[in-house]
Amino acid sequence: MADSYWGRYWKRKQASRRRFLQAGGIGAVGAAGLALVGCGDDDDDDDTIQLATPTPSGDATATPSDPFANAKRGGIYRLAATGDAPSLDPYGNLSFLTKAFAAYHYSRLFKYETGPGIHPAEVRPTPDIAESAEPSPDAMQWVIKLRPGVRFHNVSPVDGREVTTEDVKFSWGRLTAETTQNRSQVEFVDSVEFPDSSTIVFKLKTPNAAFLDVLADTNLLFIMPTESDGKFNPAQVAIGSGPWIFRSYEQSVRILRDRNPDWYMEGFPLFDQVETSIIPEYATRIAQFLAGNLDTVDPAGEDLITIKRQIPDAQLESRPGPTLSFIYFDSLPDSPWRDPRVRQAISMALNRDDLTEVAYNVSKLEEAGLDIATPYHNIIPAGETRWWLDPLSSEMGEGSKYFQYDPAEARKLLEAAGYGDGFEALYQYTNNRYGKAFNDVAELQIQYLQELGIRTTTEVQDYSSKYITQTFAGNFTGIAFGFQTPFPEAGAYLVRMFGDDPLNHGKINDPKMKELAYAQYAELDEERRKELFWEAQRYHATQMYYIPSQAGAGSTWEAHQPNLRNAVEFRVKGYGAGTETIPFRWKA
């Protein structure tokens, strides 16, 4: 789909791999040098068949080394999850645990493309069980064709039948049902038509340059078989068309999944089985990894050093700040922060380096030789590398100075706004949802606010009863601090925070921001769209309606055992790993 170098590379890989695997690992040469081991046991090493071929003409640049050279099939991939999936039904719950679970067993129309050289923040949509997508010139209509021959799992009562548009229609119905909590995400779709059993036509109300991202979003459209309405209970059993077949779920113990031999990507997955153990306590997960019982784990901070020390060949990979933390203000007409100088002052009063240090232990990690990136969040989080504008860069313009730590200047601004003696304010956040790093940053900010002269009273709120229902929706007084929902596609940040969205936390109604927010969706050209994002960030910094902070700005890490392959090369953001990366991993 994407006409990029990597898109073409990927298509070639799929074509040649298919041919190889059909012949059982022995066979004719493909477009690029590929080699695969025939049969599967870990200790059966002698069946390697090397087929080195010259790269075809037409590619002047060198291809990267083949990720599947000497790939071994079989074995179990052992992972850990932080909790039980609240429901196995993709539409049963909004929790990321449910969505991540669904991504193993259910397909979407589109998924994210991963592979060597593709940075997880730069992934683009690529067809999953769709085959192609054609936008109309004004991007208001999209015609999607289903890939032929895609089958559901060979499990009763679905029994391996082909996926048709009936199933897509059924799934779309579930996504847009009244009880589905996030159906507002697809409200921009006017209608969906199904002219034949393999064609879908989406008609949109407003143009959306990121429409394929919407189809690839694991929070949204999973394709479920129509049998899930009555013939089996999707909350307890998962039958889809994804790369893994659901085998068992021992509540609070582990989930077992078997590879789907009929997956449309022939030859994959490489592992025979995935075992996801439910281990809620972080220290226990790290302990199990160090003892060799887990293949992949999610370390933070100084555990990276411990892991490196104990397993010197462990593979560590990181990706930049995915979640945006920000300070926001109430919308009352008499509040001090109606004056932009007050907001700018607060931003300048934050020592972002220290906040990063507290949240991410930067200096200790650097001492141990790990390469830590410490970008500053802008109103677009640093993890969105395609659209983020570095607040400290020169392109940032005059707003850049508000990201610098300058308490003296901040005080002057406050005085100029008429609050030389400071003022009282309620400072609220939730501390039982977002983890320790967030809580620490929230706490440290109290100190900076007080140093500026704002006499804060801290109110720590319960996430489910107070924060998410009231504060996050904008019903509060004073100053609030929290995380933004990690949207898979960056455009959503601007629309929610500056558009006519009911969740516009600060009820911001700035015409220029609003215009930019909606304009970027209509802009299909990527360069021009990026310019719109940059302009939004530049302008916003001069107004500081929301103050980006540093929780979520540092890198999140994954550690893998030394014998795991393609863990570092195939990475993706979001929750689609079950389909997008795990089928391609193997153990040496």
Binding site: V253, T284, A287, G292, N293, S465, I468
Partner: protein
């Protein structure tokens, strides 16, 4: 005795009814709404979705109606399904309750293993160094928060002695008794150590009281050796109140295993309960409360009856 037991059983009924009522009210009095939680980030401002969800779970009915309906259901052993996960509560309880019970029984076993000898020796050698050391040990064990010991043990094990890392996945006792015990013994020991303090103290004071009885003085006068006196006369009588305290600890353990279960990834009732509380999952919270209340009430009755059997002086009219 039978009449007493019968009377107690009758009195159990209003108690349990009271429990169901209190739980039902408390759970709904908790600030926060399960619907808000289900609606999450995206649905926070979507009133229609919330209404639809409310209807789906019959939460928009009259409260009294909900209570009566729920009560009728549990009398038929229909505990409903979790609002968050749609899994039937009874299934979950059937899987998890035995696990926590096993943990609890093992914990009580360990606590007795520590508390009884220490308590008896402390009493017999009152105010000697043996007494001080023994008591310090038992109180020391209860003075250290169990979860802290567990976390330190796991963290240290992972770095310094990886053979000490507990097994990753829980295996059922019926499937693999050895494997199961391998996983459970250390958490049970931590829990038991915490419990042993109060049992030790109780044993000590019961023993002290018994040792001052006339019949013990007679035994001394007769010239019996110390061990004979302690084992054959004193212990038997001193242990009776201890039995009651142990019986009363079983329900305490059921409630107190949450943290250990979390740290050791044990799929018990404690973890299930706390996540239900965090998510305001009404059917689950209500069901577990009722179940635990049942266990407690029966345990109490059992202990009282046992007490009367063991101590012939106690007779219930």
């Amino acid at each position: 005795m039978q009449r007493y037991a019968f009377r107690r059983l009758i009195l159990m009924v209003p108690t349990l009814l009271g429990v169901t009522f209190v739980v039902f009210v408390m759970v709904r009095a908790m600030p926060g709404d399960v619907i808000d939680l289900l609606a999450g980030d995206f649905g926070a401002a979507d009133a229609e979705a919330k209404e639809a969800l409310r209807k789906e779970f019959s939460l928009d009915d009259n409260v009294v109606l909900q209570y009566v309906r729920w009560l009728g259901n549990i009398l038929r052993f229909d505990f409903g399904s979790s609002i968050i996960s749609d899994r039937p509560v009874l299934d979950e309880l059937q899987n998890r309750l035995p696990v926590t019970m096993e943990l609890g029984l093992l914990a009580i076993f360990f606590s007795l293993l520590i508390a009884l000898p220490v308590g008896i020796i402390s009493a017999v050698r009152q105010d000697t160094p043996a007494d001080y050391i023994g008591r310090s040990l038992a109180i020391g064990l209860l003075a250290v928060p169990g979860f802290w010991v567990a976390l330190v043990a796991i963290s240290m094990a992972s770095v310094y002695f990886t053979w000490g890392v507990p097994p990753k996945n829980y295996v059922k006792f019926t499937d693999d008794p050895i494997g199961n015990l391998k996983m459970m013994w250390f958490p049970a020991l931590i829990l038991g150590a915490g419990l042993s303090g109060s049992v030790m103290r109780f044993t000590r004071s019961a023993m002290l009281e018994v040792l001052r009885q006339d019949y013990i003085r007679t035994a001394w006068a007769k010239g019996l050796r110390e061990r004979a006196i302690i084992v054959r006369h004193a212990m038997r009588n001193a242990l009776i109140p201890v039995v009651t305290i142990v019986g009363l600890q079983l329900p305490v353990v059921v409630g107190g295993t949450v943290i250990i279960e979390t740290i050791y990834s044990i799929p018990g009732i404690g973890r299930y309960y706390i996540s239900a509380v965090n998510q305001h999952d009404y059917p689950v919270i209500q069901a577990i409360n009722v179940l635990v209340a049942l266990v407690v009430v029966f345990a109490n009755l059992g202990v009282d009856l046992l007490y009367s059997v063991l101590d012939p002086r106690i007779r219930y009219s």
